[in-house]
Amino acid sequence: MSDGSIIGRTTTIRGHVTGTGAIRVEGRVEGDVVTDGNVEVAPEAQIQGAVRGATLRVAGAVAGDLSGTDAVLLESGARVVGDLSAPRIGIAEGALVRGKIETARGAAAAPAPRAAVAVRREPEAPRAASARAAAVPVPAAAGPAPAQSGRRAPPPPPPRAEAARDASPAPSGGRPGPAGAAHRGPPAAPRPRPGAEAGRTGRAAPPPPVVPSLAKGARLKKKKAGQR
């Protein structure tokens, strides 16, 4: 049983933090923080990357999406640039937020079930997502994340991976797919760009075939052309 982890105040982690159990971040993380337990972000903490967990309690700075399977609570010192997504969201007075807020469906910290739905409804979306995953080095797609890789099947053809790499910041397929891809993405270095990366995860957006709902329109169109 994991007691919980603490990332101390003087600690900087350049890379991903994944696993189980509660995490309290008091330092700096340049990468995603993904767990199935609660996540607490202390006032002096800085996270550049997505944060996923059960209940996220944020009092520090986060540049990335926050997805909770249970709740996302921003406390008074919070400074968040990124989307919030959870069944319950609380923003205390004094918190600073920039991003979309969605309570409609809790973010997929466990993308597998929702991904199954995605597969049924839009065969395109998982392929897009897996193309994006393949843009991130292919071994990662094949390797970890058992549930997701089972769903996603073999790596898609290179041209789509190309288009997807261009399109990768644009989360039109933004669903558990990309969320899963970001979840098991390898170290921070190869990532296209941090801002886009932040937009990719935790976005439970409308289905891509209909109207790609994104600011990054150009990339979206390109992706749509590649897809259909």
Binding site: S5, I7, R9, R14, P186
Partner: protein, 104 residues
């Protein structure tokens, strides 16, 4: 309470740089640099080069380790990699494979 605790279920892939004390009960892949004491608990797995003021290996470490003070490999601990420290102990029951440089 140690500054940084990497709990049992946690995996960190990347570089960790800190001035805190670190306790690793989970998995670390990459590099780990601390200005203070690093202890790797019995279930901890570190596939990284470690640099610390002092290091105590109770779990599994694969990588080169450097300490400015001392390195202790405890019984049940396993170290595969080179060791560079002024003081070193390898307990009975510990497992070690690598070179030792104590000429610091």
């Amino acid at each position: 309470m140690a500054g940084t605790v990497i709990g049992e279920g946690l995996t960190i892939e990347g570089e960790i740089v800190t001035d805190d004390e670190v306790v690793v009960q989970g998995t670390v892949r990459g590099t780990l640099t601390s200005g203070d004491v690093v202890s790797i608990a019995a279930g901890g797995v570190v596939e990284a080069d470690v640099q610390a003021a002092s290091l105590s290996v109770g779990g599994q470490v694969t990588g080169n380790v450097t300490a400015s003070d001392r390195i202790d490999i405890q019984a049940g601990g396993r170290l595969i990699g080179d060791v560079k420290a002024a003081r070193l102990t390898i307990a009975d029951g510990a497992s070690f494979k690598g070179n030792v440089d104590m000429d610091v």
